[in-house]
């Protein structure tokens, strides 16, 4: 068992994390208020001519399979079963359990690690390309030796080699074979209108500090096959990744984007004010970053990175499934001064500052969530959570097992700390690679911690409370404003921004507690601030002293892992106007929707395995959604 642990933890320390950034160009293409208004001319039928997105698509942009070198040492579920599972079919987990989603995903990006892409399955299958390399021969011999210590040591060596400077096995042909097998499989499972298999990979630089990015392709296999995954062996500098992406776009005429994740484990490196080499950030690099990184993955199994209580002391809902003890592999303690460069809300504020000095905001990004699961199973629901990697799939003791082992046991991450999160939600006009990619580019996306609630968020200057009472709030939203991810136009004299915000519960999930709007702004002195407004809430509660809203209550029966929707509301909608708007101050606004309390995955484990966990293990959670911001620029 000890061996299992060590292997597991070694794996996990190499298994990645992420969070992210922003996007770049000034004007979004595709759906804008203007071109939507153009198609919504008065017609007899109010539904005629609608071309805006009408249904959110739920997916995962970050999933690993046995093809990833780290996952592959334990996980034996391949890419094909990962697709089948995401499409709603039943598959067997590595641990031999039958696994099935409550509802299929609308889209999936299998983002296996670029580093030695596809090495594991090819190695184990005795692929001649791999065996023609010295390390390949050696590892194959070791892994097929049947000798315990040889196999184990080799697995350790393979995992460790991921963060080295030189790939132990460098076979461009083998990588190309594996990549093209993957893109062909993606094409096979991609079914426009029903299920989108978007092509992607993960660039896994600086293992312990997690500067990782997922790179997503707009095109199909014929486009993606014109390159091979860019790995940390090519460069550990994200600026070089952007150059690779730029070169690819120029050469193919197609598009790619990158999504960073787990800034929370970067120990102050993800959203800094400097270049990779510690020089002051330049306008050119800031522009490049936001051009190629329009989104950040703000919530996933390895913790949530939207906000941190230390940075947002006045926000009672700041911090969710917070991992803030150390960097990813526990080799460096985290200090408070690092936090401001790690969390998305603070990064949005940093972006406003940098925009003042550089003329470009490198952190003008939108939000998605995803799992980063290494089990091939994209599971983000509390009652159906298969864990971070195949060493912590469901079994009675997984809550107390080490997920990521640190040299100092104080920084170990234990099973119960995993968050069953999250989902990437996209307001795309249709379920295709192109439409989803384009929605991501214009940041018309939101993140959830695994729940499938529907959230709309529009900003403009003319929303009135009547817009919240119309039959189709989205029509008013697109006609009179910009959707999440957009920019407010120039402010008319004497006006303040107004926001139309609405949320509907997950059809099989919990009711809603409240909707908040988070505002961040830059004052005349260049300092940034934030304020969180409760804008609408359930059950007719009355705000108390200082505007504080009483808690929604709690109906969770932990022992039975159930709850009742007798509190909260199924839908919330309102129009809110910024009461403290100053037209001279740059600002951003985003919506945060919070559910009523429900059982956390640990409560389901305790019930199903009939076990008692220690008192420090949380048993309830309040799931949430974060929309991409809308920006105001003076």
């Amino acid at each position: 068992m000890k061996y299992t642990f060590m292997l597991t933890t070694a794996l996990a320390s190499c298994v990645c994390a992420h969070i992210a950034f922003a996007q770049g160009t000034e004007n979004d293409e595709g759906i804008t208020a203007a071109n939507v208004a153009a198609v919504i001319k008065p017609e007899y039928s109010p539904y005629a001519g609608r071309s805006y997105p009408t249904r959110p698509l739920f997916g995962d942009t970050h999933l690993h399979t046995a093809v990833s070198v780290d996952a592959g040492t334990l996980n034996r579920v391949g890419q094909e079963d990962a697709y089948r599972f995401a499409r709603g079919e039943e598959v067997l987990s590595t641990g031999g359990l039958r696994a099935k989603l409550a509802r299929p995903l609308d889209f999936l990006v299998i983002s296996d690690h670029a580093e030695m892409y596809g090495l594991m399955p090819q190695l184990l299958a005795g692929d001649p390309e791999i065996l023609s390399t010295e390390k390949g021969r050696q590892w194959y011999a070791s892994l097929t030796s049947g000798n315990f210590d040889t196999i184990f040591a080799t697995a350790m060596e393979i995992v460790g080699s991921l963060s080295g400077d030189v790939p132990p096995i460098k076979s461009e042909k083998a990588v190309r074979n594996a990549w093209q097998a993957y893109t062909a499989l993606a094409d096979k499972y991609n079914e426009p209108g029903r299920f989108t298999a978007m092509i992607g990979f993960e660039w896994t630089a600086i293992g312990g500090y997690n500067l990782h990015r997922n790179v997503l392709f707009r095109g199909d296999a014929s486009v993606a096959d014109q390159t091979v995954p860019f790995s940390q062996f090519d460069s550990k500098n994200p600026e070089d990744l952007w150059s690779y992406m730029a070169e690819f776009e120029t050469r193919t005429g197609s598009e790619v984007l990158a999504i960073p994740h787990n800034g929370n484990l970067s120990n102050g490196r993800m959203f800094t004010v400097e270049t990779f080499h510690g020089k002051p950030l330049t306008r050119e690099l800031a522009a490049k970053r936001i051009q190629y990184e329009p989104l950040v993955e703000v919530t996933q199994i390895k913790g949530d990175g939207e906000s941190h209580p230390y940075l947002s002391p006045n926000d009672e809902f700041a911090g969710y499934e917070t991992w803030d003890r150390s960097n990813l592999n526990g080799t460096e303690i985290k200090t408070k001064d690092m936090l401001k460069y790690e969390y998305a809300r603070e990064a949005l504020k940093t972006g406003l500052k940098l925009e003042a000095s550089l003329g470009v905001n490198p952190y003008k990004f939108g939000f998605v969530g995803s799992t980063d699961s290494h089990t091939s199973l994209s599971t983000s629901e509390e009652d159906n959570f298969f864990g971070k990697h195949s060493g912590v799939e469901p079994e009675p003791h997984r809550w107390e097992h080490v997920v990521i082992q640190a040299p100092n046991p104080e920084f170990n991450i234990y099973g119960w700390q995993q968050a069953a999160s999250g989902l990437a939600v996209v307001w795309a006009t249709e379920n295709t690679r192109e439409a989803i990619f384009d929605a991501m580019k214009r940041k018309e996306t939101y993140a959830t911690t695994g729940t499938r609630m529907t959230v709309r968020f529009f900003g403009g200057y003319d929303f009135t409370s009547e817009d919240a009472d119309t039959r189709m709030p989205a029509t008013a939203g697109y006609q009179k404003g910009v959707p999440m991810g957009g920019d407010l136009p120039k402010v008319p004299a004497g006006k303040a921004p107004t926001f139309l915000v609405a949320a509907m519960k997950d059809p099989i999930g919990a009711n809603l507690d409240r909707i908040q709007i988070v505002k961040g702004w830059r004052d005349a002195g260049g300092e940034t601030h934030e304020k969180v407004y409760d804008v609408t809430w359930s059950d007719g509660r009355v705000q108390g002293a200082g505007g504080k809203l009483p808690a929604v209550g709690n109906t969770v029966d932990v022992a039975r892992a159930t709850w009742k929707n007798t509190i909260g509301d199924p839908e919330l909608i309102t129009v809110w106007s910024d009461p403290e708007f100053d037209p001279k101050q740059a600002a951003f606004y985003y919506a945060k929707v919070i559910e009523i309390p429900t059982p956390r995955w640990t409560a389901y484990d305790a019930l199903r395995f009939n076990i008692k966990m220690t008192d420090n293990v949380p048993m309830t959670t309040q799931e949430r959604a974060y929309t991409s911001p809308i920006w105001y620029t003076p």
Binding site: D149, M504, I508
Partner: protein, 282 residues
Amino acid sequence: MQRFVREPLVHFLLLALLVFGAYGLVSRREPATATIDVTQAKIEQLAGLFAKTWQRPPTAQELKGLIDDYVKEDIYVREALRLGLDTDDEVIRKRLRMKMEFVSDAEAEATPPTDIQLQAYMDAHPEAFRKPPQIAFEQVYINPDKHSPDASAAATALLEPLRKDASYAATAGDPSLLPPSLPLTDQQGIAQIFGDDFVAAIITLAPGEWEGPVSSAVGLHLVKVTDRAPGILPALGDIRPAVEREWMNDHRNAVEQQRFDDLLKRYKVTVEPISADGSPPP
């Protein structure tokens, strides 16, 4: 390659391997005195691993600790192997099993299916390829919170005006993020938005007229089914990639099962009796 074969060093190494292999076999059974050589290469590897984690080389004392620990580990591992502790290790067993499955998969995928095979597969599994029946409808939402205590009565009161005036649907009811209408959509797609109860309720509705109220996860609805499409079975030519995908998936499993069955024949398996409730006997 030929030069490689003639190389004396290779011969020497092969011979050495033979000797050591034979020694290993013997020593596995009879570990009288074994040797552990901590080579320079091994020491460098230990130091390197340490440096990778800590971003600095180990001190002399730390290095000694690493080496001592390595020796301890090596002895334990050898003893564990001698005691056969590797045989019940889950990680090793899973790894080996996975490799057997890889071999089988490669064999299964070697030959692509013919149209005749695929057509036969479709004939045998029509449900897997049938396009599910679809329903198109309009709906008007009634928020129970706004019409308590009798939301159902409030909903029913809207039925007549809706039936009389086709344009009334655009403004009737309460605001909601739910789409006011859906084009032809299969049941699963409708359930993803409105929930399973709603789907079960509208399946039986007669088309062409406002009916209801029916309930969903968020409240009550008046529904007018505007179109229905029966499920159809497409021709192979229209869905060949999907059929091939499913055929291959089944084929792969079948080949693996066949290989396993063949292997199973080479073993005599005895299982001790288990009690009626599935628990092991006392």
